[in-house]
């Protein structure tokens, strides 16, 4: 049970690039990072306009002098301070992640970055190599992977409760982009559909990689061998796909399927994952994240509940309230930021042994996401050919 203390040397000195006033994702990052004093927000380049940046920074308690108009100044000025930031979160549009990440790492900062890391797999690998070389933590915010029931699922797979995995079915399919009204009204939506800013994909990159990472977290032994994709653009004004189906072939014979959509009318979120083994299946749905269905063939369906004593220890370690009381997405993110903080603290102590066994969504997961998007796009462009992953 988490009760407000973290066991690290001090709250990580932290800044943000992006994530300002109108950014709802920026708020989630801060809510998670500031929880339980994991991080302290001390600086930022929250917006391109210096006045807006400063006004916003001050409103959340950052000293005006440490609100910078651009990330380069943020990194250079903070690096001159004794009490300068140690870590930075990058919550800007996709096309800037690569250059800002690179600059941050080169400035010696630990990085927490929104996915995708970048557009090209080679660039992603470059970032991963740079982080490793520098001994810096690079976390990627696959924000759903912090839920305790995901870690229950992972613990069940690891212990063989499902038997050998045969199938992985995933979906992330909501409806609110079913017309172009959303991108006409909303800058936030608009850039996601602009390939120069969002990259070569909309739904596969924006939401599909969340599913991919959940599957990797739950069943890390499963290795994707090849995939096949068909994608559609139903809203004709768009340049990128708003729906896609991906067939998955894993090494060793397991198979799977991913459906991603922003035109799934009437569904508010629709992220689900079902992992099917020789003995049992588990299914998780992110709109009710405190539950996990556990279906052993020949036995009654069981509904596992967060916080219950029958769960594995991996699923109980990060509870903040007793079961029955619902936790939500903010807790999932808090769990991740808590793990980033612990990782950064360990990195500062050069505790590589600890870091080897300390799970968090890391830069390698980010690299795999970029590779996945590119493979899907390649398959779809080739008329749904199988593409090696």
């Amino acid at each position: 049970m988490i009760n407000g203390t973290l066991g690290i040397d001090h709250p990580i000195r932290w800044g943000m690039v992006g994530g300002g006033k109108d950014s709802f994702i920026g708020y989630i990052h801060r809510s998670a990072a500031l929880r339980d004093r994991s991080f302290a927000i001390l600086a930022g380049a929250f917006a391109r306009d210096s006045t807006r940046c400063r006004d916003f920074g001050v409103s959340i308690g950052v000293d005006a002098s440490r609100c910078y108009g651009d990330y380069k100044t943020l990194f250079s000025e903070e690096s001159k301070r004794k009490d300068g930031i140690e870590a930075v979160t990058i919550a800007t549009p996709n096309n800037t992640h690569y250059e800002i990440s690179k600059a941050a790492l080169e400035a010696g900062l630990h990085v927490i970055c929104e996915k995708p890391l970048c557009f090209k797999t080679e660039e992603a690998e470059e970032l991963a190599a740079l982080a490793e070389k520098k001994g810096l933590i690079y976390g990627v915010t696959y924000g759903y992977s912090g839920y305790q029931m995901i870690h229950q699922a992972s613990a069940m797979v690891a212990r063989g409760d499902l038997g050998k995995i045969r199938l992985v079915n995933m979906q992330f399919a909501y409806g609110s982009f079913n017309t172009n009204a959303v991108e006409e009204a909303n800058a936030y939506a608009r850039w996601r559909l602009d390939p120069t800013i969002a990259g070569p994909s909309f739904v596969i990159g924006d939401i599909g990689t969340h599913c991919l990472f959940l599957s990797e977290t739950i069943a890390p032994e499963l290795k994707l061998e090849k995939l096949l994709c068909t994608s559609q653009t139903f809203v004709k004004t768009r340049q990128l796909e708003d729906n896609a189906y991906v067939l998955l072939q894993y090494k060793g014979g397991a198979a799977g399927m991913l459906w991603v959509s922003s035109v799934n009318c009437g569904c508010t979120h629709g992220q689900k994952i079902r992992v099917i083994g020789e003995k049992a299946s588990i299914e998780w749905w992110d709109e009710h994240p405190n539950q996990l269905r556990y279906e052993i063939e020949g036995e009654p369906v069981r509904i596992l509940d967060r916080g219950a004593g029958y769960l594995y220890s991996e699923a109980l370690a990060e509870d903040r309230i007793v079961g029955g009381h619902p936790e939500g997405l903010f807790e999932s993110w808090s769990n991740l930021y808590r793990r980033y903080a612990i990782a950064i603290d360990a990195a500062a102590r050069k505790d590589t042994a600890f870091l080897k066994s300390h799970w968090y969504p890391d830069v390698k997961a980010g690299v795999r996401g970029v590779r996945f998007v590119n493979a899907c796009v390649q398959s779809a462009e080739a008329g749904s050919a199988w593409v090696q992953y």
Copy 2:
């Protein structure tokens, strides 16, 4: 509201081939046919062994003299009687459907046959042509298509409640064949996995075509253009696939997906269909067949309930009890047999005008099913190539 009378000249004089003592499907056929005096069971070749055939026939009220040891005798002897049967149901293993159907039609009998009609598309078309030439009714027991909420769905699509259809997602995926214990223990299961009896496919043919027909019933304007299939055989002793994913491309741009599986551990049935339009989606799940989810984008999800006054008339015409009280699979089948009886009565009167607007799962639906299975098998064998449908 159905209240026990049918408005036809007389209960259709009826016999069965197969469907004897240990056949649970035979019981469903009879439960449906005999309901409300649509049909009267007068003769049969219920089993290959004459004694077992006669014992069983007598136990259900058939005169011993009209229990025949084989279908040929059944057809020839009954055709000599003034009060001979008018219609026959064929509930035998797949590999016999073609020859028995052909013989029945040639004997002037209306036919109700289990799917698949046969293994080859040309043979299916031959049966369709023969029925048409003879002016005989040929019904196929897509047994889930009689549910009232399926007809509510169809009425909604026809009225444009969903807008233009974009996506059709289907699944029929249960878990009880997750090991080969079932076919080792059970003759009923065994022949389904034997390609010489079951045909070129297990799950696609046995359950996938049910989904296909539901989609055709709900959205008849959608025309399948091409499909792509990947299939797996997880239980290694099997010759046929026990899992498959099928991607669908419809004329006009709609797309879809079908997942069929007999190794979906822990799921007892798992037949679902979700139809997504530009404005709204509908979703139906056959384990709770009295409900239909209706999800208009930007509005609260609605749960439509069988029997409710707000449903379209097409969905209310076949209610047997007021809403809230659950109807089940027997009522769905009863609705189909009721429609077969009405069709046979109309055919006897040569009322072709009536028959044109009278819906029932007909031989053309059977032909499409056979074509679908063959296209899936062809695609899977070609390494998941797109196959024109």
Copy 3:
């Protein structure tokens, strides 16, 4: 698994009083009775008007000469025939049940009667005594009690799976009588709200006794000691209550609660029962009758499914299709009529030993229902005083 044969000497020769053309309950009786040749409908007084009676009778296959204008003629004429009916179902308004039941028993007929048997407990006891004296079967159509999952529940309680029972919570609360439009439009509804026809209660008698009987079926060892009732009449034109809460005190310390309502807006049916023991609870909801929740304290909630191999034999004996496929209310009624037929067959053979262990909703259950209604009315009239049961 039920497969169409019953093992009785012959289908019970059967007639009906009431249950004619516009009676949906009449249709349910016939659907259940005629299923699997348990009963054969040979005579009836289906309506007070002789022409309507005869027309209806003929339409369902009854010989015109055996359609009678009133129940007295039905009983007297049929008793003169060698092939006269052996049993009669009474599906008329409440205020006639007593006299028709009495006449039927006196004519030597087995009786199946809609609840309530009558208005006064002494009259109910008189009918019970008469049936016993005559050696006749008297069944009461508590139509929900035939569901297999109710018998699973009963088997679980009997085996101690729940531990000692502490609490029984019940509700039957629908919304469709939330204004008086329903009784203004509908004769069927009107008499239910007329105390001269319906008796001293509307919802307690009409639906509350169903819950009572389910609780008695599931936990027969629990003996009601006293009850306390508060009732309301929200629709002001009504003379009888349309909502009531009943508190229950059982011998030995268990407690319970029943909520019955016809003004529970938006709920289509709403019949639920939850039985809570020292170790576990079970909960059943009649809109999804194929499931039963089983909640062991400290373990995950389990969803039991009709037809599954892990159920007790009592729950599997009356399956008509394999699990996953939904059965509905018609099957529950068919199970009851099947049991009535078997009971009547045994009574004809004077097999009292068999009858002792053969469960069906019998006249004693009918008596208890009448007593319950009267106790509730008495408590409510006394300002919610506890009333001994």
Copy 4:
């Protein structure tokens, strides 16, 4: 949408009495208060042992010099400081609430207190009068009442969407106290069952008042007239009730029912409220707090979802993330603490006009809760007599 800023003059200077290391409720208070800089934790008497108090305080960032061994010292020392605390949260066992609250108010501190305020209604009224006289805010942590969907429910009732309210059914019934193992193992549980510490009731006071306050929040126009209670103590070692049923009679004819239980085996939480009007019902369940069922009679059931554009503005004002993403109990509490902070800020400015229309769970709600508990106990002791409220 809440995005991290609050519009108040400064974060409220805040301290705590109780809520130390092993207190999970203390953590919830802090998580909520510190969110978005509504409050700043500056002092506390977190534990009776000074060392434990100081160690804990320091671990959450409180200066060691402001960690006090008892609440009296806390109040007196802080009142001497210019930067002393303005508000205090009381998270101690029930029997201490009255004296600590009184002392805090007398020290000029705004108070946020766990329910119940005290054991006797007169004492509760005394606290309310004292707070009013001093112009101090006194908030009570009915922690479920901050959920947005509760405020959607309230807005629907206020706008007449349900029509006149007829029935209010409530339950809060979990199973984890089904044996005395919990109080044997756990000090936290033990005092709840000790009448000298917990007061005259266990489940009615501990959880029943939460339901009461939800009903008051949703339907403030409904005024409770009288109530009737029966309670049970199933675990024999206990002095207080572990189960109770309460019947409710409102002025104007509405009725209701509350079931509270700690022996509802297998249920992890089980807090539900259903409000039934002449036209429609709403139902909310706290394990899925982002949904609200809306059931208009004669229309399909609708599932309303937090964050959706169709909700009333009252339900959208406190969203922290867009719909589909689940919020949880921490957000509900954060909403309440946010409102307490705004109230305290307004009180400091003596903005009584604003305070009149500013909703938060206030001392009057606390008084009603104490009165309710006492009325229930009185009724139960009088053999379930109706007691005026």
